[in-house]
């Protein structure tokens, strides 16, 4: 009888201990969840605020306490905002700049990256280190001479200064793609060489198709840079028909002043491509960071 009781007690204690362990484990997870969610609110609320304000009628924009859900939902704000400035032109110009620059950046960077990753030529290591060093050249230092050059060329108030410099490959992107190319096994390439395939053909037919994730990563990064670029268009563009979205938004802001619902509608439209791009290509952002060698 006594032994039975002690066994029972033992089992009870074990149950209790397991419970305690589980409580600690889940308690910790719960706290982690709560903290992480609490911070997450801070990061997401501005977007929520932007979209809901864009859907509010004017009288609900300026009320205290805050109206967290627009009633009625006013989709018209987007149409109103779109029609109160030449947003069609702004979008078109931004698209021209962004698409050309992205395609140019991706191809030219991949081209150079292939040279650095796959061909042993004299002085390669030195040039590679030199390339890494050029990443340190600050844009502020080169901006003024570039302006002078483009001015001499008569490129003021054209989209060319926003596009042309990106057609020669960026050091950071070359570095990123080189890291990517290094992970591709050399057996394919050797076989192709022996069959008499030129390195250009190998680059075009083997490396580009195999590197889609890497190329996409570069494309996304450079898309965001060009889409959001503000200072270069501010310096180079001076007529409304040439404005990109960022400059157009700026004028819209000063003209519309206090109509925050229209402003938020315009901001939402401007940010939407970036947000959609991010939602569908998330893993490539992470890949980019891993590729640049931070993950050891």
């Amino acid at each position: 009888m006594g032994t039975l009781w002690s066994i029972e007690r033992e089992v009870g204690m074990n149950k209790y201990r397991t419970f305690q362990k589980l409580a600690i484990k889940y308690g910790k997870t719960l706290i982690a969840y709560m903290l992480v969610s609490f911070f997450a609110i801070f990061f997401v609320i501005p977007f929520y605020w932007m979209v809901t304000t864009a859907l509010k009628q004017s009288d609900q924009v300026f009320t205290i306490p805050i109206v967290w859900w627009p009633k009625p939902v006013e989709f018209n704000n987007f149409i109103k905002a779109w029609n109160s400035a030449p947003f069609g032109t702004f979008f078109k110009n931004t698209l021209i700049v962004t698409c050309t620059a992205v395609i140019g950046t991706v191809l030219s960077s991949a081209f150079a990256a292939y040279g650095f990753a796959r061909i042993q030529f004299p002085g390669r290591e030195l040039l590679f280190i030199f390339m890494l060093a050029t990443m340190m050249i600050p844009a502020d230092v080169t901006r003024i001479p570039l302006y002078i050059i483009f001015r001499r060329l008569g490129w003021i108030n054209t989209l060319k200064p926003l596009i042309v410099p990106s057609l020669f490959g960026g050091a950071f992107y070359i570095f990123l793609l080189r890291q990517f190319f290094l992970t591709i096994p050399s057996s394919l390439e050797e076989a192709a060489y022996i069959d008499g395939c030129s390195s250009f053909l190998i680059f075009w037919k083997i490396f580009l198709p195999l590197s889609k994730p890497g190329l996409l990563t570069v494309a996304i990064y450079s898309f965001l840079v060009h889409w959001n670029e503000f200072m270069a268009p501010l310096i180079y563009l001076n007529s409304e028909s040439k404005y990109t979205l960022s400059i157009g938004l700026r004028y819209f802001l000063y003209e519309q002043g206090g109509y925050y619902n229209l402003l938020m509608a315009a901001a939402t439209m401007a940010l939407l491509p970036c947000l959609i791009l991010f939602i569908f290509t998330q893993k490539y952002f992470i890949k980019g960071i891993v590729l640049t060698g931070l993950k050891e």
């Binding site: 911070f39 304000t53 805050i66 302006y147 020669f168 938020m264």
Partner: protein, 306 residues
């Protein structure tokens, strides 16, 4: 695939030919680099010794520009101070928050991808639209902050109109925009910490706090060091767009949002003092460069594990 016999001589010849192909591959980048980076960098350096307004020919004036910067330009000091304030305010906090969130999410929590997306979201948006969004968030009467403060009976400050509050507002906004990037980098860094270390510590009865202090933190020091260096470099050069938009190009009340790059921009593209603006840009470059070297020199705290 049929076995191929390699003609050694021919192979060497072909191989040699392809080695030269290497130059062709990097040629476009070299041309672009010389035209758009190296050349401008050299001419920018030369311009620092001149007075140049784009229309009349440049005039050599020796080191006058530098003398003016240090002896006779209060806005240089003001903008430098604003920038330093911004760097000190935004970089450490964004690193700390990014690290904290990464550590929290690194415990096998479900839905990491969703949280990762939420935190990273601000990082993919930038520029004018985001500045406009925050102008409304900071609105004195009806923004989020002041509405919430008003609901508990506090009369909130004019975040973007009161000189004291302008820089803190810009810092909060920057932390919002930067933490996601930091956090993703730390998350990648954390995955590189071997599990054995934690297991060994658990056997020795280490508490979570001990594990964090004596394993996680030291193992992450290289990542922290990297984020610190790149974060400081980019913070020194950032903020122009936001500062320009929220102050309507004015620099804000008492120049409270007037950051260094703004000063360069105004001298170059509003006053057309190209030589002076180049000198300002070089001073910034040298400040950042020296700071980076100093950080590398005093990087004894960085732990490079086996």
């Amino acid at each position: 695939m049929p076995r191929v016999y390699i003609n050694k001589e021919k192979f060497t010849r072909v191989w040699y030919k392809y080695r030269l192909d290497g130059f062709i591959f990097i040629l476009p980048w070299m041309i672009g680099m010389i035209i758009f980076q190296l050349g401008p960098m050299i001419s920018s350096f030369l311009l620092t010794f001149t007075r140049y307004d784009v229309i009349t020919p440049a005039k050599f004036i020796g080191i006058e520009n530098f003398k003016k910067i240090f002896a006779n330009d209060p806005l240089f000091y003001k903008s430098l101070w604003n920038t330093v304030y911004f760097v000190i305010g935004s970089v450490p906090i964004s690193i700390a928050v990014g690290l904290l969130v990464a550590v929290l999410l690194n415990q096998k929590i479900r839905g990491v991808t969703i949280y990762r997306a939420l935190y990273y979201l601000p990082s993919v948006t930038s520029g004018v639209a985001v500045a406009i969004l925050w102008m409304f968030i900071y609105d004195k009467g009806y923004g989020i902050f002041n509405s919430l403060l008003a609901s508990v009976g506090i009369h909130g400050p004019g975040w973007l109109t009161d000189p004291i509050w302008v820089m803190p507002s810009l810092i909060i906004m920057a932390i919002w925009g930067l933490t996601g990037q930091r956090f993703v980098i730390f998350l990648a860094g954390l995955q590189g910490v071997p599990d054995e270390l934690y297991e060994a510590a658990e056997i020795d009865g280490a508490t979570p706090w001990h594990k964090f202090i004596s394993i996680t933190l030291p193992m992450l020091t290289p990542t922290i060091f990297f984020t610190l260096i790149t974060g400081i470099i980019s913070a020194f050069q950032s903020l122009f767009t936001t500062a320009y938009i929220i102050t309507n190009g004015s620099g804000g009340p008492l120049n409270s949002a007037y950051v260094y790059v703004f000063h360069i921009y105004r001298n170059a593209f509003e006053y057309y003092h190209m030589g002076y603006a180049c000198a300002l840009a070089w001073v910034l470059f040298i400040i950042v460069f020296v700071l980076t070297i100093l950080q590398i020199r005093f990087s004894g705290w960085v732990h490079y594990g086996a």
